[in-house]
Symmetry: C2
Subunit: 216 residues, 2 copies
């Protein structure tokens, strides 16, 4: 994976997708500029999770957009996804790396400054600073980083960074300006009236900020 894949990172949520089909929403978002997709499913049978993963993988084939699976290394292996995204309650990183091999992408959520520090000892492909702002997507009660915390996390980590939690058209620009390499978005895309337009708009804002950084 390259850092550029983090720019606009879509995390799926079928419950928030207004009844629309998973692949439809994802592919509209990809056409709009999404650079990475994570299939996140909770409370679903393993067989159904695998079936969804295979459908998304087929839909994304040839798009150049990698597919990650949330938490489930077995599902990632079964569908030959590009990698997994793991949280602090999921499989420990070293075990996941051993099972997935050196070439798969493994991203890790970091929810405190201590976890940002600890992740510097791991060879994860990226860290997801989570949450920047409190949301209804996560039921966990975590202290949000805010922009200041995100900026410190970006300074502290040796890894590529994306950030998640309250990312939408009003917040992604500032989040990138804090040093994040990208923003992970759930409802601002999957619940948007038009996921293509929403993604296109978010991508434009993010690319603008990334350009400013490159030009110094």
């Amino acid at each position: 994976m390259i850092k550029d894949n983090l720019a606009l990172y879509l995390v799926t949520d079928r419950g928030l997708s207004l009844g629309r089909d998973l692949e439809t929403v994802v592919m509209q978002a990809v056409r709009g500029g999404v650079t990475l997709v994570q299939l996140r499913e909770k409370s679903i049978d393993t067989r159904e999770f695998i079936a969804l993963g295979l459908r998304l993988k087929a839909a994304l084939a040839g798009s150049g957009v990698p597919l990650l699976i949330n938490d489930r290394v077995d599902v990632a292996l079964a569908v030959d996804a590009d990698g997994v995204h793991i949280g602090q309650s999921d499989m420990p990183y070293e075990m996941a790396r051993r099972l997935l091999g050196p070439d798969k992408i493994i991203g890790l959520s970091v929810e405190t400054m201590d976890e940002v520090r600890q992740a510097n000892d791991l060879d994860v492909d990226y860290v997801a600073v989570s949450p920047v702002f409190a949301t209804h997507t996560k039921t966990d009660t975590l202290t949000p980083f805010g922009y200041e915390g995100l900026e410190r996390a970006c300074e502290l980590t040796r890894h590529p960074v994306c950030c998640i939690g309250g990312m939408n058209a009003d917040t992604v620009g500032r989040a990138i300006a804090c040093g994040s390499d990208g923003a992970a978005v759930v409802s601002a895309i999957v619940s948007a009236p038009d996921p293509y337009i929403a993604s296109k708009n978010l991508k434009m804002i993010i690319d603008n900020e990334l350009d400013k950084r490159r030009l110094g």
Copy 2:
């Protein structure tokens, strides 16, 4: 795995264990004669599932009793368990075999006579005829096989058979007499006042019936 490992098959359920520690209950049951252990957990974080699996594996080391993991191939791989038990909503058998390799045990639940037939096309290590009787352990609403159905399933399958659902001291003898190679037990062991005594009693009944079969 050999057929003998199916004789008295313990499926764990922490919620039914009367607040007692998982390893304590399992090791009492193993001393009482349990021949196979399946760690079954629903609604648990992957990290906690792995931690439980590692603890049980350490407790069982040297006992000769294999440890299977319910559903989760990733957890089985992470803890290097002896295999998995999969249901019809879990990972399809062929995928699980590919991920686990030829030497791990894979058992499959069969819940209808059609599924018994279909399993004859797979190289599973055993089938679990489920349920013989309705129980509160499973929330699914399946038609129980009953003794007659179990007998027909045993005739129909080419695999070693265990049976599950309502197995206790009153039922295991007759279930073995129907042709099953063993009985999988949940509450009759984990909810027993003394899991050691309960297992010892069940094992005696089962061994008696298996001896009758061997002696023709």
